[in-house]
Symmetry: D2
Subunit: 368 residues, 4 copies
């Protein structure tokens, strides 16, 4: 029922192959194919623990469908240390974010729609998946090669093409748990039981969740314009499950239950199989998810508890200027939030430049 | 005639302000305003020497117009060492390329065109520059702040708004001299006397040259659609003047002469004031400027001399796999170029990953 | 009474001088000269807040003697970001620890002792300070120059030569507060009110505290061998005041009071001027201050609360091997402590290599 | 005759083992055991090519004795990229130089000498090797573990204990070929045909060559003091074979021949088997091998050709201060060499801090 294989995602200068484990849970027939990935950013290790706990849930209670679990998805990033910390957010050579290099190409979408307009849904979807696979294979076979980050991303992405659900497990820097929800998929998002939610439009920006749903979203939109309705066949979410460089096995257990509860809505288990203690949930549109950048440099005290609403004008940080110690004038700059907001995450260091992203906030929140 | 001021471009955690020198050469009346910048990437220092030599040409022979010289444009990047080398290509915190964060926003272009359709060219251009300045000021005044790289980029960009010519001096990794030429500005590009030329479309991709010409290009296109012809008021080029981490004062003198020779065409000096020994010139379209990525990892011998045409199938690198020493089978992988090509640059290290950008090539070359 | 000057400690590639603030509190006559420095490692910012609070205590209650406060002592290290964190523990070019490059040279100690054997204590000490100054000046004037880290260290060290007390404020990675106590100076160490104490021999290992006391210790030993007793004229301590990358102004206030309470014993204030809530204190010899290195790589749960004694055999960490998920066999390695111990600090990341320093422990503890 | 095995030298956070290839050439009986290692610093790849060429010489002409070839000795360092370059000179976590962590402990030497004073040379040497092996095994079995760099170093070092000759292949930054020669082993050093030579005392400083010969040197000295002469049983050299980040297969062939020619003197081949075109050779004592540190920061032109003698006072670099462009006063600082000298290597970047090691020089040269 549970099998493990390995995927080679890149070769290192030493000659060693970077290999990613791929655990397949073959469940009872009749359920969806679910792809779950963790740790594409090297320091974001919490998702691995969540996958471990989710596998335990599968062992305790065999699901319907197929779950593909991919922990430790980026060995290159995981191994990239710089000082004590893990510099695994971007390719150390190019600066390219490891989660912005997935493939998306809908240039031929009109042709595709025209030629499959009379197919039934299943045939149409199968053809569309076939087209996505062919695109990926073609790019990976380019005689000019591909960048390190694209090789990693596309090799992982090949495993997602047949999935009905794609979940990408991340963390923030110092962060409350939050969730990126594509607008069309709001209905079931609350089931993850994640308190802070960002509702995204359905465009492609390079990340895995977008790479998974955007082709389908555009397909359904184009078909709608041609007078045909196609229910969205794929759901995809990015879960941010706390802070980087931390491992919290107890919280992982709770988040695995939240994921399982969501998967109940997709048919993996009967409704109500998994219980969670509900948390209050807030949501805002992506355009209202705002970063606050530091107005000056210095040594910073973070003042705003994550996850708790604060009114406009609240001081959220005090930036000290110890190089002015002993001089006249104020020794710190107080930073306030411009609107009513809920702090989601803050920077991981107390030592900041002018322009450092200090905080991200939900603003103009609404019910999920 | 020559004055120096300083621009604060960011504050460092230690409290020190990162300051950029701004040298203004006030020439005879009647010439263009020319903005020249060097070293936005920390390791690309050769442009500073070119500006130094160009200033000497101005001293020897006072130009018409105004030249604004900005060497050492990115003190944050220049100071970012990692091992012996300078890690100044991207923000060490975010991975953002320092040359991809300039401002561009033409969302209100239709409105602008409609309201200035009856203005004369000078009035229209002055209004457009005013609009660009207002956009930059508005973004810099955001209550949410801006990213470190945007603060740097936009503060520099403010100095370019009044310029008729913008030249951004870069280098490649290990590189022959090459030039990015906007398609509309081909006519005078040969005057720089740079052997390898990439002809770009006129879209915005985040770099300074594009930020300088794209707003104007779109303006002229939109006006053309409305039946009005506006000659492009701004020229902008990115010059790649050799290899990073090198300083070659003699070559800088030659490239300063090439720049001066180009500026003759813009009215800074009488034609023929500056002489260069002409070099053969090749050009290709940006779409034909191709990167070759490494098909495997290893230790590499670069085989193709830069700047010299090679036919399709030529071995351009040998990638050794010394970890296989003593085993059967080939000890190296030979990499060939898929089409006829001219190698422009190669990677700076002999130690590569799978997917490292090994070379960039002109292909399908044409006359400049 | 309070004056601020600046010391240039190095020039950066951009041309900017790295400058360190030097705040001098000129107290009532008759007290010691005290030198306090913070933030020689770029991420260890808490000491700056302690100096700020100590300056407030001086303002509230003018001390006897002279206090020299040097916050932000290493602007080069403070500005060295790598990802979100501060890579300021070692020179990014050479890997040299910024706190291992101070000067020490007692090669001529025999000659010095012989020629000053008949001097009184004050004359002898003045001559010895003069000799230290001359050594530093000579090294700084070398025609071959000095390394970046030596330039920084020696320029700071010049300010310590006249001090009777030298306090160097650091932090650990994730760390309980702890103190390095030279063996000869145990008597007053408890006054800092720091719970965990490491009693050091009096040799030179490169750090500032050692550079401050070792010359004098060897002098007193050599004189003792010649039949003369010289009370140690200099005390020096390294205080580790919590975790790097954190700023805790409340804790800083408490630690400033502890320092002031220690300085009472040196004559800066009358006994009992400053109050602290006493904490239990443990001590061990440096040889019993043990690092525990990771027996394998993986993603780690730290299990042992810092500062609390644990018996031999206690599991202190669980190292997960998520790359083995879905395979048979144990998914984690449990790490136990080999002896009875008190955990002082642990590594700052949950992502470790084989051989990463996981923890440091006091073992064989005794009364301070 | 040629066999390959692998040595695990460390586990990476991703779970992958860092493995080092070990190629053993079993030659005709009667010759020495020779251990050759390359690439302990990640960017110093040229030694791998030299080992490859040396293996070809062994295939062409079977040696006497046993050669153990260890290319790619530090996979962790080889994979550590930062920007384009390889940051493999020191552990990215701790800053520890990978070539300063070998084991040396002669504390029990007196006891050893006393108990083996009457043994014959072969017995004594075997016992000493046994003692070294036991020391290494004991340290590697410590219940407290060992640091990443020590694990790597000691695991490699275990392979050297039985060797009669240890050769460690390095490169400089931008460098002429040079050789570290232990004083006692000068007689045959010229056979390597390396132009620049540094004659070292026989102390331990942490590097592999010292770790290989220092225990034996101290043994022979101690025995001499007890009236017994023991010819040095081990030779060890560090070869610096050009510049980092470069691969020059032709030069590798010449240096492999030089090594083979040296090994003729140790009995691996008959005298005269391998030919080299002799190069002029210079030598100086380690104390006269001088680094020149930059007196200021800036952008640098290196003026002195490597390997060619220059008289005292020669300008060897011009450090430009482009941030002063347009201002009065000199735009560069000229750096001169304080004594007659031969430049051996210079810094790899044109962008330097105050205190950057600009050059290293042989001074007070003598015949090798």
């Amino acid at each position: 029922m549970i099998t493990t294989t390995h995927l080679d995602v890149g070769q290192q200068p030493s000659g060693e192959l970077a290999r990613v484990p791929v655990i397949t849970v073959e469940g009872h027939p009749g359920g969806p194919t679910v792809y779950l990935q963790a740790n594409i950013h090297g320091a974001e290790i919490q998702g691995n623990a969540v996958l471990e706990r989710l596998l335990a849930l599968c062992r305790a209670n065999r699901p319907r469908g197929r779950l593909i679990l991919v922990p430790m998805a980026n060995p290159i990033g995981i191994n990239q240390k710089s000082g004590e910390f893990t510099l695994g957010r971007f390719d150390p050579i190019s600066g390219d974010n490891w989660n912005r290099q997935y493939h998306f190409d809908n240039a031929d979408l009109d042709d595709f729609c025209q030629s499959h307009l009379s197919s039934d849904d299943a045939t149409l979807c199968a053809a569309f998946r076939q087209r996505l696979k062919a695109q990926l294979a073609r790019r990976l076979a380019s005689p000019w090669g591909l960048k390190t980050g694209q090789l990693l991303a596309l090799r992982l992405q090949q495993m997602t093409v047949d999935a009905d659900v794609v979940l990408d497990l991340h963390t923030g820097p110092i962060s409350a748990r939050h969730l990126y929800v594509p607008d069309y998929a709001r209905a079931n998002a609350h089931r993850f039981n994640i308190p802070l939610n960002i509702v995204m439009p359905s465009d492609f920006g390079g990340a895995l969740d977008e790479a998974a749903f955007s082709p389908w979203w555009q397909l359904s939109q184009r078909l709608a314009a041609l007078g045909r309705e196609l229910p969205m066949p794929v759901d995809a979410f990015t879960l941010e499950l706390g802070s980087q460089e931390k491992l919290d096995v107890n919280q992982a257990e709770r988040d695995a239950a939240g994921i399982a509860r969501y998967l109940e809505s997709q048919g993996c288990w009967p409704e109500g199989t998994h219980k969670v203690a509900p948390e209050p949930q807030y949501a805002c549109a992506l355009a209202n998810y705002r970063a606050l950048y530091s107005p000056c440099a210095g040594q910073i005290e973070y003042l705003a508890p994550l996850g708790e609403p604060v009114p406009a004008g609240t001081p959220v940080a005090r930036i000290w200027h110890y190089e002015r110690l002993g001089q006249d004038g104020p020794l710190y700059t107080e930073v306030t939030v411009p609107t009513d907001a809920i702090p989601v995450l803050h920077f991981a260091s107390a030592n900041v430049q002018e322009g450092t992203e200090l905080y991200k906030f939900l603003t103009h929140t609404e019910a999920l």
